[in-house]
Symmetry: C2
Subunit: 205 residues, 2 copies
């Protein structure tokens, strides 16, 4: 088990060149489904994923990403993660699905909805948007770990023009673009990047 974890999490590296292996839609859907087990604030699951799968979609991505061309060209897919600034507005619909799946009692639903109604969320509030980024990070790490479990590698890419992403892909402005992740069969080994140790990062009190 030690060896497996080392391979999945500890020895993960960003990969920027992939072979021409194409991951099937079915398999990538399974990886996404499993990655969606990540928690989110109030379990509101505010993410929207755009899987850039076709050559045409890659060409569109190219217009908002001047760098990272090798990944763009060689990756099997790229997953563009958005956060829904109007997540509270779809809470009732989400909770209905949870209830139908037998995983959320009606009294709990009512308590949550009452709480949300009293919160008066401003969708452009910085803290609210920051929380979407936290939820995106939780999902993204699961996705990168599970990708490796299925034999693939990834690279998290922040370097694309977020101001143009919605227009390029015709995505409603309620969704804010957060992170892009390339995925595929690796065709290079990446490099071992430095990490600060816990002794510097963490204080026990």
């Amino acid at each position: 088990m030690e060896a497996i974890m080392k391979d999945l999490i500890i020895n993960r590296r960003s990969i920027r060149k992939y072979t021409n292996y194409k991951i099937s839609k079915e398999e990538l859907t399974k990886i996404i489904d499993e990655s969606l087990k990540a928690p989110s604030s109030n379990n509101l699951q505010p993410l929207k994923l755009l899987v850039i799968d076709s050559d045409e979609a890659k060409r569109t991505l190219k217009t908002i990403m001047p760098m990272n061309q090798l990944q763009l060209e060689t990756s099997s897919q790229l997953v563009l993660i958005f956060g829904d600034t109007l997540k509270y507005e779809r809470a009732e619909e989400l909770f209905k699905l949870a209830h139908e799946a037998g995983k959320m009692p009606l009294e709990l639903i009512e308590r949550h909805l009452t709480k949300f109604r009293t919160q008066q969320i401003d969708p452009t509030d910085a803290k609210h948007i920051a929380s979407l980024h936290l939820d995106a990070g939780l999902f993204a790490m699961n996705f990168m770990t599970l990708a490796r479990y299925y034999g693939y590698d990834t690279c998290a890419i922040g370097g694309f023009n977020k101001d143009l992403a919605n227009e390029a892909f015709k995505i409603d402005s309620r969704y804010v673009p957060i992170l892009l992740i390339s995925i595929g069969k690796k065709d290079d080994e990446g490099y071992d990047s430095y990490r600060l140790p816990a002794s510097i990062v963490a204080d026990f009190i």
Copy 2:
């Protein structure tokens, strides 16, 4: 391998009651060290972790967290994750450590530092702070997965008073509080919460 991954990621549940087992500082440090393998924007590793380990620190936390009392009392530790809004100011120091570890050539350091100098980052900028939340999420998911690998469970807690956290723990205001995670040996089974399927969340284009 399938069974292991299901147990670590797919069957993770939020645990809100723990046994009185105390995780040693050494073991928790190891879990944090391994979790820090998560990527971060520009590999700037902007997180600061406060490990709430003592009864006194738990009492301080209690003053800013009216809910979640059972977790507070029974968890072995709680990890409070902060993001450093002045991460660019310590880039040079970080890169020096990376260089000394043989993992960052000098010309790459110079290129990054030149880029950062031209960026004129406002530490209170909403997008900058949102990016710290993304990095926190990447780390947090690794931490929750690795905790389970070592036989522990966790719960991600957003419900504490972030406006008072710095003052309560005497943390410089350059660090913004992002997420709290309790950890320990589970003493209940949690519950299976609903997740939206990839067929709803993801669009292939």
